[in-house]
């Protein structure tokens, strides 16, 4: 039934290139790891572009049967619109972070290999492999392995700084990630017992609304929500993400969380039967709404810039959960809008949040601290970083034109079209609160520096430009005409064929 499509081999390349690159970088060590990482990540952008082009040209998902064995016995790699878009997003953010890391994570002169830089470059590749596995995997158990790859890569990146205060928050992060994985695995055990396959497309064709399926869905959702730090499981995220070096924080907040999101999409729209899913979706959205409000309010109150940005992640992740009841509401047009809005929120947040963390890191390095109340002079000292922070903030607030605006507008109109106006209120309220904390930072940065103001010497210009470029991408996503998001619809299961 399923067969390898033309261009399917690209999917193998997208996965094996970073995985093999990591192994080789690990053996070569030291400065060679940096060179391997940059080369592989640059090639990764090319492969992602080719995959996007192939998916668009075929107007159908790319499929690759691994080992030539069709499911249920074998397993597939699949790139539909969502995978293709997320893969490109990940490839660009990874490459940008790598370019930023050339200045901040270079092996110091005089040694052949140093701990933090070597781990950074190896785990950058590891993360690329894990994300490719998570976005392309067509089998739920294979996705479990991908989640574990992601856990190891993310944890190592989070611990890069090696600061004494850090291990507590990162250990808590690890425990949450592991519990999330185990709950997910528990669900796959039930699904295999129920259907005799873990292939996502075969499950979509066979799904039934029985107790094992629903319990599996609940357990897996809880596990993935723990990994995404959905309210009320959000407490681990801010200290864990804020404690990492900026380049790692950008990846953790921008990308790692999105892998669990893609798995959640697979689960809810492919594996779970639509009618009970539609009944349960408002719970998910309500938790998302709570995350938006609580996360934004906490971000508003943070004294530290990096913690502020991390709490903003809690809030922005909340938006992703609003799409579930809207997609499942049964109105084909509104469903399509919510789908686009959700996925676009995931991609635009990836660019915006990466830009924000990188900019925040640069500002903190220049001023020697990251206290929000004492940012005066930052605007003069590092204009590009502050502009990057502001542009990314526009996207998070949902001010046009920006990717974040388009995403939130699509979700908002979908909420109104399906008569669920309360979610629209949450989106607007969240935007106002986001405006509040972004304003706090910007206003502070633009004031005059205090008299006894000392700043470190300016670093190289490259990192500032990287942060600015990422912020510009998150804004530019909003300039694309809606029709160009057709890619995201490819391979999406049709839910509610009109009223």
């Amino acid at each position: 039934m399923m067969a390898t499509t033309p261009g399917g081999a690209l999917l193998v390349l997208a996965l094996t290139l970073p995985a093999g690159g990591m192994l080789i970088a690990f053996v070569l060590g030291g400065r060679a790891a940096e060179r391997v990482a940059i080369a592989v990540l640059a090639a990764g952008v090319l492969v992602a572009l080719l995959i996007d082009a192939a998916v668009l040209r075929a107007s159908a998902p790319l499929v690759y049967l691994v080992g030539g064995w069709p499911p249920p016995l074998g397993m597939t790699l699949v790139a539909d619109g969502v995978s293709a878009a997320m893969l490109l997003t990940a490839a660009l953010v990874l490459l940008a972070t790598a370019l930023y890391g050339r200045a901040t994570q270079a092996t110091p002169p005089g040694v052949t290999e140093a701990r933090a830089p070597f781990a950074f470059w190896c785990f950058l590749l590891a993360l690329a492999a894990a994300l490719a596995a998570a976005f392309l995997g067509g089998d739920l158990f294979n996705l479990f392995v991908a989640l574990e790859m992601l856990t190891f890569a993310a944890l190592a990146l989070a611990c890069l700084e090696g600061k004494p205060s850090q291990f507590r928050s990162e250990l808590r992060y690890l425990l949450f990630a592991l519990i999330g994985s185990v709950l997910y695995l528990l669900g796959t055990a039930l699904l295999y017992g129920n259907y005799g396959t873990l292939d996502i497309r075969l499950l979509a064709a066979a799904r039934r609304a029985d107790l094992p399926t629903l319990l599996a869905g609940a357990l897996m959702t809880a596990g993935l929500a723990a990994k995404m730090a959905l309210f009320p499981l959000h407490l681990w995220l801010p200290p864990a993400h804020a404690g990492a070096p900026p380049a790692a924080s950008a990846l953790l907040s921008g990308l790692v969380v999105k892998a669990a999101f893609v798995l959640l999409l697979r689960l809810w729209f492919w594996v779970l039967p639509p009618i009970p899913a539609a009944a349960a979706a408002p719970i998910l959205a309500a938790l998302g709404a709570a995350a938006i409000l609580v996360g934004s309010l906490l971000a508003l109150r943070q004294a530290r810039l990096k913690l502020l940005v991390a709490y903003s992640t809690v809030a922005q992740i909340g938006y992703l959960f609003l799409m579930f009841p809207l997609v499942l509401a049964g109105d084909a047009d509104a469903s399509s809008r919510a789908w686009l809005g959700g996925v676009l929120q995931a991609t635009s947040h990836a660019f915006a949040k990466a830009a924000m963390f990188l900019a925040a890191g640069l500002i903190a390095a220049r001023l020697g601290h990251d206290r929000v109340a004492e940012l005066g002079g930052a605007g003069r000292a590092m204009p590009k970083a502050v502009i990057a922070f502001g542009l990314a903030g526009l996207s998070l607030m949902g001010i046009p034109p920006s990717g974040g605006f388009t995403a939130k507008w699509l979700l908002l109109t979908s909420a109104l079209a399906t008569g669920q106006w309360w979610w629209a209120l949450v989106i607007l309220g969240g935007g106002l609160l986001t405006g509040g904390y972004v304003y706090r930072v910007l206003a502070g940065s633009l004031t005059a520096p205090p008299a006894d103001h000392v700043v470190a010497a300016p670093g190289p210009a490259g990192p500032q430009q990287v942060a600015l470029a990422l912020a510009l991408v998150s804004v530019a996503l909003g300039l694309l005409p809606l029709a160009s998001f057709g890619l995201l619809e490819i391979g999406r299961p049709v839910i509610g064929g009109g009223r």
Binding site: F144, F167, L171, L174, L178, V182, A189
Partner: protein, 101 residues
């Protein structure tokens, strides 16, 4: 066979309870391993139910458990390495925030 299904469910419950209730990190890691064992046992029950073609159990879930066991071991090792480092630096054995922060 049913009895092992019940055992698996009980281990999952015990493990989850232990993860929440135990304070010491090492005890949390032990509870996590109990939880994992319960999950794997449910895979084992699923495999046993699928006995066919002259095999005592479906080989596919068995292979998944073997993969899972190795991954769980690696995860345990990482958690322990982090717990030891935390203990070495701060002397703490739990995840509770120190009172002075």
């Amino acid at each position: 066979m049913t009895i092992y299904g019940l055992l698996g469910a009980a281990l999952v419950a015990l493990g989850l309870y232990g993860l929440v209730v135990q304070a010491a990190v090492l005890r949390k890691i032990l509870a996590f391993n109990l939880l994992g064992a319960g999950v794997f046992l449910l895979f084992g029950v699923v495999a046993r139910r699928g006995a066919a073609a002259g095999l005592a159990a479906d080989p596919v879930p068995q292979a998944m458990v073997i993969t899972g066991l190795v991954v769980a071991f690696a995860a345990t090792a990482l958690a322990i390495a982090m717990a030891l480092r935390m203990h070495q630096i701060t002397g703490a054995a739990t995840l509770a925030e120190p009172a002075d922060e």
